[in-house]
């Protein structure tokens, strides 16, 4: 999930999710960056309206059934 968190961090900090930015963040977090993956994530996120996705994520019914132990 590192690539997703790093992307969300950038988005949240109002920075563009570019390959360089993503790599910087991941490297700073001590992640061994996989160039191809970075490219894939950046490309995929370009087609997504992140704000919209997050809005719906929050609006989601949090029927958080706690796992029955």
């Amino acid at each position: 999930m590192e690539y997703i968190y790093a992307s969300l961090l950038l988005h949240s900090a109002k920075k563009d999710i570019t390959e360089d930015n993503l790599k910087n963040v991941l490297t700073a977090a001590g992640v061994n960056v996989d160039e191809v993956r970075v490219k894939a994530v950046v490309a995929a996120l370009k087609e997504v309206n992140i704000d919209e996705v997050l809005k719906n994520a929050v609006a989601m019914p949090v029927a958080a059934a706690a796992p029955a132990q």
């Binding site: 994530v41 087609e47 994520a57």
Partner: protein, 298 residues
Amino acid sequence: MIKMSLTVQQHKIPQWKIEEVKELKEKIKQHKTVIIASLDGFPTDKLHEIRKKFRNVMEIKVSKNKLFERAAKESGIDVSKIEQYLTGTNAFIFSNKNPFEISLMLSKFKLKRYALPGDKADEEVVIPAGDTGIPAGPMISVFGKLKIPTRVQDGKIAITKDTVVAEPGQPIPPEIVPVLQKLGIMPVYVKLRLKVAYHDNLIIPGEQLELKLDEYKSQILESYKNALALGVEIAYPEPEILKITLGKAYRNAMALAGESGYITPESAQAVFSLALAKAYALAGAISGKVDLGIQVPT
């Protein structure tokens, strides 16, 4: 000559004060975190319990504000930023821990005291069944008024059933306060109020020091949900996310099967459930007016 010695006389500071400032300076120098905590209204005997509990983590010193201010100034602390907190009776906490951690530790350590008239209960106050040792007398009517069942046994009042006299947050009936003391029940929490922390040249006001862990938890949850949602949106190939994405794809498929009436053994349930849901909705909409000869679940 005489004049000079007079001047010295005027500025003469008692030796103990000099010693104390020196000690405070040492402690400031040796610790990354200094917290000023208010002792106004704080039972001093409880300070001892805190000291005992946290002696490996922090030192607590009660001192005069003026002396602390002098020590702080001589240690290079910008006193102008903390002098507003140097009023009333204060304890000074020295530690090498992150001040937020200190704050958490102190808030988790429940110190209890006896109730005073007018106090609210911090936890459920139960008068336990059993002998009270209180001689039968006017107290019987106090118990009666509070609906605490009693009987007299050997001239003493005995409670016959555990009885709650105050829920958390409720005021404690003042009449019962002496009884609580007699029974050793301490239903009120005391907390050291942290006024300000000085740490790594940062001044952190007390209200900021109180960490709301529940908020952190819900933020973590929200962040995680956001990450999953974003991951699902781009079908991020990671098992954690794929599980959800697969479920979404499957539900999409079922929805499409249902809406287009595409029946397979797998989709039949979805198709007919949808059709039935619609049929029942329609039946429900007119069931008040028409006898359909069926039972419509509502």
